[in-house]
Symmetry: C2
Subunit: 136 residues, 2 copies
DNA sequence: ATTAATTTGTACGTATGTATG
DNA sequence: TCATACATACGTACAAATTAA
């Protein structure tokens, strides 16, 4: 698979699609590093900007995490902790603002779940580690 | 408020913070257009790249939406539809991959809620229009 | 209805800073 | 110390969509 310059789909989205498929197919295993930006740039014959846009897109999807100085890695799915939605409780999911994300130490592309209790109390849970449940 | 070039906080994050506060404070009302990228670039004395990175960050937070040819707008919060988490049901929240996002017509920065029923069926709901509830 | 101006999107380049190995 | 790698920030140019004239 390669990049089609004649396609209407932007280069960086085509590249993101290729990498995403590589993740889904297991070509890139969970926790494994992707090729460096330079390597991807050369391998697919695109600018570094296109590579960075593709990786940024995958980060917002929670598929990839990047740390400065290291190659991007396939973000492993953490264990989910069951959290009970109590009677009369309500829950919503939203993306955290950047300062809130830093405060909770969340990866990019990870939503938060707000759990609203009957008494008005609100808990905030990282969505990647949370599974809302209701007992039978 | 303005940009501090000596700060260790990147220019684009400082700018994103300023715009975000402008949204929270009501200076930019829901649905209202933000200044154009050029206007922001000139007003704060930063490059267009920094402006675009700031807006991209706010989009991933679901605070702003942008369409080509139009100025970015403060994303209005849609009505939430109550969805019952049934007995024995489970729910998780995650970001949709780009093709899935396009398929469902979701804005950037909007998670999806996966509702897993006891019989194995899975519903997918847009998180910005969904409120999970459990009756008392 | 056409044209022009505005605005965002994509893609490239260069340079420098900062963190890792 | 040195090389590698990602982050930031500026620039240019052109494409594509909308808005205004």
């Amino acid at each position: 698979m390669s990049i089609d310059r004649r396609s209407h789909t932007p280069v960086y989205r085509q590249l993101a699609n290729l990498i995403r498929e590589g993740i889904y197919s297991g070509q890139y295993a969970a926790g494994a590093p992707l090729p460096s930006e330079l390597a991807l740039s050369q391998e697919y014959g695109v600018g570094r900007d296109a590579v960075r846009q593709a990786l940024a897109l995958l980060r917002t999807e929670g598929l990839v995490s990047t740390e400065r100085g290291e190659r991007s890695r396939v973000r492993p799915a953490p264990e989910r902790v069951p959290v009970e939605l109590p009677p009369g409780g309500r829950a919503i999911a939203r993306m955290p603002a950047d300062p809130e994300r830093a405060e909770h130490g969340l990866d990019e592309g990870v939503p938060v779940i707000e759990l609203h209790h009957l008494d008005g109390a609100i808990d905030v849970h990282p969505a990647d580690r949370t599974e809302l449940i209701r007992p039978t």
